[in-house]
Subunit: 198 residues, 2 copies
């Protein structure tokens, strides 16, 4: 042999296409599948296809959704005057988990990155601007505090501010529970700059 | 929201059933699936079902195979007088990769483990004994050098030796490239016991 059956090779090739899976892990996963019942495996296969075919992007905020308009955008209790702009749906979920924010979202599907050839036209910037039709009071730019995230935030603020909409950026500073000894210089500088009165 | 679409939850639940995958990794994998093309995802689903439904156990050696008799057992160039007994198909593949061994295999599908309630009757011991019909000269016991693997090897040797078949056990010792400083006592003791003349 020196090779596994072709079906195992094919399945582990598929596992390798998942984020962060190497050759050995992919093989291990393929073996796990052999240990499942046939019903389980068929359920797995169905779940794969369902996730890909039934999930779309909300027509308003571009977040992933199983309906045309996502639950947040269609919730009458959300504050429609505030839009929180995030890079992807993971970030939207992270903000949502805080259970503090009651406004809407806008998912950019990336950040501006000349290195990767991603310009504003590949993001949902046009769709964001189209939403600023008078009812929106504030746009919170919640892209990540990375160079690309900062660049994108600055780019968006320059586009949005002239429209008379308030633009804010999430704060930088020490993470709660963090240790000053291990904080990087830039974070600490921002934490000091952003100090508030007690 | 505060929850992902149901399809994502369902898919990540399936990923969690794989060996060594936690909640966060499962979610990340589900997101990876969204990034694939629909064709890729359908191919993935097909590969899952194919691996489960088309792979069976070789009628002779009980290794995984896509045919009734596996490529090793049906290869006329393999030495039919030697059988290497391993715990599972991963171990058989590991031996096969050395490209040194030219005999056949026998896959036990586990080891004797009273703790886990696995007795010899749950392994392919009966099938192994049925293969020792005179043509077999040697059985190499290549279960892992763990307590369960050793127990299983001793159990099998007591069954097989009376049949007039030579029984051998893979050697213990220092792994090649290893460091004596970090070797455990038992390994080092076995390495010294098993020393050979230069």
């Amino acid at each position: 042999m020196a090779e596994y059956p072709e079906q195992i090779e094919r399945l582990s090739d598929m596992f390798r296409r998942l984020d962060g899976i190497g050759k050995k892990t992919a093989l291990r996963h393929a073996f796990s599948v052999l240990d499942m019942t046939e019903d389980e495996v068929r359920g797995f296969a169905d779940a794969l296809v369902a996730a890909k075919t039934e999930i779309c992007f909300c027509e308003v905020c571009k977040n992933i959704s199983s309906e045309k308009i996502c639950p947040v955008c269609s919730d009458p209790n959300r504050d429609r005057s505030v839009i929180c702009v995030v890079e992807d749906f993971r970030a939207a979920m992270a903000v949502e988990k805080v259970r503090e924010y009651r406004g809407l979202y806008h998912v950019l599907h990336g950040v501006i990155s000349p290195m990767k050839g991603v310009g504003p036209d590949k993001l949902t910037v046009k769709e964001l601007l189209a939403r600023l039709d008078g009812g929106v009071r504030e746009v919170i730019l919640a892209t990540n505090p990375t160079p690309e995230g900062e660049t994108t935030a600055i780019y968006l603020s320059k586009l949005i501010a002239p429209l008379g909409v308030k633009v804010s950026r999430i704060a930088n500073g020490m993470p709660v529970g963090g240790d000053l000894e291990f904080a990087d210089e830039l974070t600490l500088r921002r934490a000091i700059e952003g100090r508030y009165d007690l």
